[in-house]
């Protein structure tokens, strides 16, 4: 190869190294690599382990490719040339065994972590978990606290170091995906279906939450704030939301709220109707039939 091409390749590798260095060392802007919750932390570490295992094969292949490309070219009169050599059983065994061994390790990692970090697995903690029900509507997030009997829109608050059990569904919207990058992985919220996930925040803080599945015109701005606070602050917050000036969320007000609208402000509801979430999940079923019939 000409010097120019070699120079460009070197510059390239340099740029790549800098970019990857930037990714790994960057500040809190890269949310997935900068977790604030145990689930997001474990998910990131799975990625790092997998990346390490893959580099075990990628780096040798890259060095090998560079060596072959720079050695066995036309201009190199000293390189060996064997035009008829097209098979070697020993080499083929090696060529297959090398990727297979790495992929097998990755498969074990896959099976173990898929089970350990499945969203339905509860988080072990000394603190008592709290349940929050999430309903995606066009285009806002409604959060119902069945234990506290309050509800909010586009803001979810919970105590730090306390496992949060999210139950998710949607109302009259296409599919949605509920994601708080710094706390942990996403899960779909679907009309007529109920899904769940468990998340926990390590410390007090305010995190960005969003929808990742396209569901119409207001999709890009369907974001919310996830607030983790101390247990005391949480109790105070619940009390303040319960004050009578906030409206009540029952099926009527919910249906009004669920009409398509964009850029909804944060809203609080002082009390909620019992079993509102179940009513929303099962509203598409014909009367008299349970979920078992589906």
């Amino acid at each position: 190869m000409k010097t120019l091409s070699k120079g460009i390749i070197v510059i390239f590798i340099f740029i790549d190294v800098i970019l990857f260095g930037k990714i790994l060392l960057a500040g809190k802007n890269i949310q997935v690599l900068n977790p604030k919750g145990i689930i997001a932390l474990q998910e990131r570490d799975v990625a790092f382990v997998a990346l390490f295992l893959m580099l075990l094969i990628i780096i040798p292949v890259f060095i090998w490719a560079f060596y072959v490309g720079t050695t066995y070219h036309e201009g190199n009169k000293w390189a060996k040339y064997t035009p008829e050599w097209d098979h070697s059983t020993k080499l083929q065994i090696f060529i297959w065994a090398f990727p297979i061994s790495i992929i097998c390790l990755l498969c074990v990692l896959n099976w173990v972590t898929a089970h350990k970090l499945d969203p339905s697995v509860a988080i072990a903690s000394t603190n008592k978990p709290i349940t929050i029900q999430v309903v995606a509507t066009r285009w806002k997030w409604v959060f119902i606290y069945p234990q506290q009997k309050i509800a909010t829109v586009n803001l979810v608050e919970f105590p730090e170091n306390t496992p949060v059990h999210f139950e998710l569904s949607a109302s009259d919207t296409p599919m949605n995906s509920f994601w708080i990058p710094q706390l942990g992985g996403q899960i779909y919220a679907m009309s007529g279906m109920s899904t769940q996930t468990h998340l926990m925040a390590d410390s007090v803080g305010s995190y960005r939450g969003e929808n990742t599945e396209i569901n119409g015109a207001g999709y890009a701005e369907m974001t919310f704030t996830a607030q983790s606070v101390t247990q005391n602050d949480f109790n105070n917050w619940v009390t303040s939301v319960k004050q009578s000036s906030n409206p009540v969320l029952n099926l009527d007000t919910f249906n009004k709220l669920a009409q398509p609208s964009q850029d909804n402000p944060v809203t609080y509801y002082s009390s909620t109707q019992d079993n509102l979430f179940t009513t929303i999940v099962t509203k598409y079923l014909a009367p008299g039939k349970g979920m078992e019939g589906m």
């Binding site: 460009i8 997998a50 490719a65 098979h87 990727p99 896959n110 996403q186 007529g192 960005r208 598409y284």
Partner: protein, 664 residues
């Protein structure tokens, strides 16, 4: 009555937005220009007789390439529009052209990325591949034609009808679907998308999908039944093997797509409830069905390209391909495994750990044959004598991008990691790395490699290399920021975001990358123009410009319309390589049977187009005319016995001698 004839099509639905008017204007100008040119050079009859009605796979292949390239420019324009909106459209930015943020409304933005995805997958990558397969596979297997020449013409014209239909909204009004390229339910249901956009999508893909399916059947039969004597399966060139695998995939999956769209059609046209929210519809079923087709579909895009790389590496390293059997096993394994991984597109639906882990492990297995192929290609070069021509540059570009993209893919095969990057720009960057860095680079490599065979002269090397470096730099500059943005939490398909997130810089870098890629495409067009002007200096008079190994190089460049005057006999894996060693043998000419040209493919596709368009607008009268027209044409063709003619041995000899004189 008016309802029956025109359906939903009214004066109000005709185009009136700046982009539809602009599109219509552009199309009209191009068509008018072509029409004036053809009239001036008096080539209308020639165009009709020699090209449009042809059943010659080489000409059909060239037409595929032209249409695919035009669509590539259109899809590329979409891409630049997406990038521009994302780099200027923060939520505090002023709106231009009537948009709230940036210059596109949310709905318009969603239409554009949907159009970009559909056009790039169905009409660009598939079009390029069908073009190359048409051009090369018959030559590689030493055949004079395909098993069903007429079906090949019909397949191309149905593809063309699909291309026109999906762009018809520019001219007749309506809009593109704003659903994402797969029109996922329930977003594509009447409740959320009552307009004609999704209907355009359905009928365009139904029409072109039938074309793809019959093209697939045609090539499977051709490769299995029409090989030259002596070419056993284990002597087939790698590109033919890979094409066979790709076409087997096409034949197995396109019925799934047709059926899924048919169910969606029933929902939208007859008020049924397969995928609706209410009355027992189940949208999750749509997701399973569409990805059962969709995942193998992306392998249809890449598998033939693996074959192109095998050919190029072996030719330019001047060495037999290393681990031939291994490569076939690898391609076959990828073909089979592609059926068992579709659920990895929605781990986040909450199917549970066992299901997710199963599909995750199946996905990871695909990494094994892919890795094996790359290592085998490197061993082919090992102890070879690599000639660094443009195609080899594309190959090394592919190795550097594809391995990175593959690593990103394997990361996403882990459900816990996928939960954190699903539907983000990380995913977008991943599949662009695979389709651009894998499939598109391979198509460019194959195009440069086989160009002299098809047109009789080589492409300009220097500009080709400039184009390659510009592409590679542009690719990294535009897509590395997307990987980072994805990990920052930027999701795909968003038209606006808060400037406080600090994403705008990276989006701008990405836009600059898009500009570099535009320069690269400009260089490729320049390369084509310069090469055509300098064609006399770069003529390929031998038919074998690269010191090739397989049968396509054994005939002249461009090949005569009957491909081979004498069908070659094959005794080994690299038949032409052996022939060159053994030297020439005396030639005995014989009569050749060839298919006649026929306009029936155009007529049937024209009626199919009319049917599709009428269905989009609920114009039932025209839909009935379309169906009746299709049936009549098919019957006429079926009872037409006079579809072949004989070229006598004397005529063949005359043409061959004339050619020999020309090249002397």
């Amino acid at each position: 009555m008016e309802q029956f004839i025109l359906g939903r099509l009214t004066w109000d639905s005709l185009p009136h937005e700046w982009f539809t008017l602009g599109g219509t204007g552009a199309f009209a100008t191009i068509l008018l220009g072509v029409a004036i040119f053809l009239t001036r050079v008096k080539r209308w009859k020639w165009l009709w007789k020699e090209w449009l009605t042809t059943t010659d796979p080489k000409k059909i292949g060239i037409m595929y390439l032209i249409i695919a390239f035009l669509m590539f420019l259109r899809g590329g324009l979409d891409a630049v529009m997406i990038w521009l909106q994302q780099s200027i459209g923060t939520s505090t930015s002023p709106g231009y052209l009537g948009a709230t943020h940036g210059y596109l409304s949310a709905d318009h933005f969603q239409q554009i990325f949907t159009a970009h995805g559909d056009i790039m997958v169905f009409f660009v990558t598939m079009g390029f591949l069908f073009g190359l397969i048409n051009l090369i596979v018959p030559l590689q297997i030493g055949a004079r034609d395909l098993a069903f020449p007429f079906l090949n013409s019909l397949g191309f014209w149905l593809y063309f009808a699909g291309v026109v239909l999906i762009n018809m909204f520019f001219v007749l009004g309506g809009q593109f679907g704003s659903t994402g390229w797969l029109a996922v339910a329930p977003l594509s249901e009447l409740q959320f998308n009552p307009g004609v956009g999704v209907d355009y999508w359905i009928w365009s893909l139904q029409v072109s999908g039938v074309g793809t399916l019959i093209g697939g059947i045609n090539f499977v039969v051709t490769i299995l039944k029409m090989r030259a004597p002596g070419m056993s399966l284990m002597r087939m060139p790698m590109f033919t093997w890979a094409s066979l695998m790709g076409m087997i995939l096409v034949v197995s999956i396109f019925p799934i797509l047709a059926m899924t769209m048919a169910l969606l059609t029933l929902d939208r046209y007859l008020g049924m409830h397969f995928f609706t929210l209410d009355n027992g519809g189940n949208a999750m079923m749509y997701w399973n069905l569409i990805w059962m087709w969709g995942h193998p579909e992306v392998y249809v895009l890449i598998i033939p390209v693996f074959g192109i790389y095998s050919e190029i590496v072996s030719t330019f390293a001047q060495k037999k391909v290393f681990g031939y059997t291994s490569l076939i096993v690898a391609v076959g394994a990828i073909t089979l495994l592609s059926f068992s991984v579709w659920l990895h597109h929605f781990y986040t639906m909450g199917a549970g750990a066992d299901v997710n882990a199963f599909f995750g492990i199946m996905t990871m297995w695909i990494g094994i044959p892919t890795g094996v192929q790359i290592i085998n290609w490197l061993f082919t070069m090992f102890r070879g004598k690599i000639i660094f021509k443009t195609p080899i540059y594309w190959f090394f570009g592919f190795v550097s991008t594809f391995t990175f993209g593959g690593m990103a893919g394997l990361l996403m095969a882990l459900p816990p990691v996928d939960f954190q990057i699903h539907n983000t720009l990380f995913l977008v960057a991943h599949f662009h790395t695979m389709i651009v860095g894998g499939a598109l680079f391979g198509i460019f490599a194959g195009f440069t490699y086989w160009f002299p065979k098809v047109f009789g002269f080589k492409l300009n090397e220097r500009i080709g290399k400039y184009a390659f470096w510009t592409w590679l730099v542009g690719f990294f500059v535009s897509f590395v920021p997307l990987y980072i943005l994805g990990m920052m939490g930027a999701v795909r398909r968003m038209d606006t975001y808060s400037p406080s997130l600090g994403w705008q810089q990276l989006f701008t870098v990405s836009l600059i990358g898009a500009g570099i890629i535009m320069c690269a495409v400009g260089l490729q067009i320049l390369q084509l123009i310069v090469s055509i002007r300098q064609r006399n200096q770069n003529r390929d008079l031998t038919g074998d410009p690269w010191n090739g190994r397989s049968l396509e190089w054994a005939t002249s460049s461009p090949p005569p319309f009957y491909n081979f005057a004498v069908i070659p006999e094959v005794h080994s894996r690299d038949p032409f390589w052996e022939m060159k060693k053994e030297g020439k043998k005396p030639i005995k000419y014989e009569d050749i049977e060839l298919p006649k040209n026929t306009p029936m493919g155009i007529y049937i596709s024209g009626f199919a187009f009319l049917f599709g368009l009428a269905m989009v607008w609920h114009a039932w009268l025209f839909a009935i005319i379309g169906i009746v027209g299709i049936i009549c044409c098919v019957l006429l063709r079926t009872f037409d016995e006079d579809t072949e003619y004989v070229l006598t041995a004397a005529e063949v000899e005359k043409i061959e001698k004339k050619n020999a004189k020309r090249y002397a």
